[in-house]
């Protein structure tokens, strides 16, 4: 390529380059800030985390820097009940919340897509849970679920006659934390699915109706298959994103009662605060490993269902 720009009236290094080379220079300049930011806060620190995960490093004791321990940290995890509890709760949280978000999100998307007079209102309202700070939602619900002063136990008692203790019971506390995640993120899923619903042609439904399909058969034989690529993409996104959840359980239950609602991220936070940097790094690697496994499954599903990303 020896094309030269017709408008080239300048001289100097840049002017002597071919058009193609100039494009490369422009591309590098344009990409530089983004690549530098990500390198500084993601790629480089991740390499350090990987390095630290094979070392014992507590700056309060190890004054000569990290000490190599091989797989020592990972063996220690095997004997740490909190790590195991946090991994199992994180998986329960992510699977339960994502499944409910997709199911309810599809229902809400239908509501947002239905033609009725208050539709504009429903589309404004649906953004609110997504937009409200997680800290506000977590603390607000923490108070609403309070076993003594909360309105949720009170409403359940007066309206449905259900007597339930939430945050002091390990299993119900798990349920409560997952419920808040569903409340907070279902609207986001619904908005994405709404965009998908709007892309399905009406003629498909009309043809199905002529052939005698009812609402349910239309849902299972038209809507869900047509939305499958979006459902998979959104589901994967929600799983990966929620695997790293921190602020919700941290503020709502503090990980308790006991360690029943401690997520992996909070365990990492606790170990980091105790200056066990090496151990925290190895738990981080486990978290990244889980994310990677989900990612690979996701990519396989993408290929299988011929989704273009």
């Amino acid at each position: 390529m020896t094309l030269r720009s017709p408008a080239n009236r300048r001289h100097g290094l840049f002017a002597q380059l071919t058009l193609q080379q100039r494009f490369y220079v422009v591309a590098i300049v344009l990409l530089l800030p983004a690549v530098m930011l990500r390198t500084f806060t993601a790629f480089y620190p991740f390499l350090q985390t990987a390095y630290l995960s094979f070392h014992r490093y507590n700056p309060a004791f190890d004054h000569n820097g990290p000490v190599f321990v091989g797989l020592g940290n990972f063996q220690r995890m095997g004997a740490d009940p909190v790590v195991q509890a946090s991994i199992s709760f994180t998986i329960l949280f992510v699977v339960g919340a994502t499944f409910a978000q997709l199911t309810l999100g599809l229902a809400v998307a239908h509501l947002l897509n239905a033609s009725f007079r208050l539709r504009f209102l429903s589309r404004a309202l649906v953004l609110i849970p997504w937009a409200v700070p997680m800290a506000v939602a977590a603390l607000g619900f923490r108070w609403m679920f309070d076993d003594q002063f909360g309105i949720i136990p009170d409403l359940l008692r007066t309206l449905a006659g259900i007597e339930m203790r939430w945050l002091i019971d390990p299993n119900n506390a798990k349920l409560a934390v997952i419920a808040v995640a569903i409340w907070k993120s279902t609207p986001f899923v619904a908005l994405v699915l709404l965009a998908g619903l709007q892309g399905i042609g009406r003629d498909l439904y009309e043809a199905a109706r002529v052939d005698g399909a009812n609402a349910w058969t239309s849902l299972f034989y038209i809507t869900i298959p047509m939305l499958l690529p979006i459902l998979i993409t959104t589901g994967m996104f929600m799983i990966v994103w929620q695997l790293a959840v921190f602020d919700l359980p941290f503020l709502m239950t503090g990980g308790g009662p006991g360690f029943s609602t401690t997520v992996i991220a909070q365990k990492i936070y606790l170990e980091s605060n105790s200056l066990n940097y090496g151990y925290a790094a190895s738990i981080s690697m486990v978290l990244v490993g889980i994310v990677a496994v989900v990612g690979v499954i996701g990519l396989t599903l993408f290929r299988r269902f011929d989704v273009s990303i």
Partner: protein, 300 residues
């Protein structure tokens, strides 16, 4: 209906045959829709109602069994005490600097990168795009310790620009994905025409591309502002001074980590209301743009 009206002209409308079925056929669906809408409004609205009513309930009444649903004497006392227990205005300012700064930097850096990735073919462009979007999956917490050490070395802890650097970087992948998909929809012919007319690269970007993608940039600015306004982990770990702490950190400071009964829900709800108001305003103002921006980023 009209046929039945002819057959039974004198009968009251609800006694005519087929009335129920016709009613159900005609209004059944909308009754269902409005019932679903009512449930939707209650589920979404109840927490906000409760947070707001708590914020104007005197603290003596707030700790009642059964709980107070609406205060007998509404008061603004909680707001007053909240602003006295934490430096509310300073935190508010810090949140604004953090939110506006992070979203501005992320939109500018992402806009530049997205243009290069969407329009310029160069070796390694796919690899860079993949690395940038895959890094969205890297959990914040997994790199926190090394990041803290690096930021400490560069004296970026407890600074506004340090917080803005990490927050804007966190939002970059999603912003880039959204903007790349937007730029790819803009026909490249316009830019090619400008090249032929003798415009240089800088002119093309500022005079042709920028006006075309301005709505997308503005949408991403709003979305990123909301995300950074809500961010807790980064300010919690990297801001220890009054001059850098944000409102979300202030909310955790009000929380007494000790016993349940000492949690100052009166002040927390007041601060919560203040944290919700800006995002509510943005949603009222930019609802349509935000919905399209979120859907685009997640679909592509």
């Amino acid at each position: 209906m009209s046929q039945q009206a002819v057959l039974h002209p004198q009968a009251p409308i609800h006694e005519r045959p087929g009335y129920r079925a016709a009613l159900l056929a005609r209004y059944g669906e909308s009754v269902l829709i409005y019932a679903a809408f009512a449930i939707f409004v209650i589920v979404i609205g109840l927490p906000f109602y409760f947070i707001f009513s708590s914020s104007i309930t005197p603290s003596t009444e707030l700790f009642n069994v059964p709980p107070t649903y609406w205060p007998s004497v509404p008061t603004l006392d909680n707001y007053l005490r909240m602003s006295q227990s934490i430096p509310f205005l300073t935190y508010f300012r810090n949140s604004l600097i953090f939110g506006i700064g992070s979203s501005a930097v992320s939109v500018i850096a992402a806009g530049m990168a997205a243009y290069a990735l969407a329009r310029i073919r160069f070796p390694g462009s796919n690899a860079i795009y993949l690395a940038l979007i895959l890094s969205v999956a890297l959990p914040q917490i997994a790199v926190l310790v090394p990041m803290f050490q690096t930021f400490n070395t560069f004296r970026l802890v407890n600074t506004h620009h340090g917080l803005i650097i990490m927050m804007s970087s966190l939002m970059l992948p999603f912003t880039i994905i959204t903007l790349v998909s937007f730029i790819k929809q803009v026909p490249a012919e316009i830019e090619e025409a400008a090249y032929i007319d003798g415009a240089n690269t800088v002119q093309i970007i500022t005079r042709v591309v920028l006006p075309l993608i301005r709505p997308a940039l503005f949408t991403m600015f709003l979305i990123n502002f909301i995300i950074s306004w809500n961010e807790l982990l980064y300010p919690l770990v990297f801001a220890h001074t009054v001059d850098t702490k944000t409102l979300s950190v202030g909310l955790t400071e009000l929380t007494d980590p000790g016993s349940t009964y000492t949690k100052p829900w009166d002040m927390m709800s007041a601060l919560s209301v203040f944290m919700i108001i800006p995002v509510l305003l943005i949603i009222l103002f930019g609802q349509r743009m935000i919905i399209s921006g979120l859907a685009r980023g997640a679909l592509k």
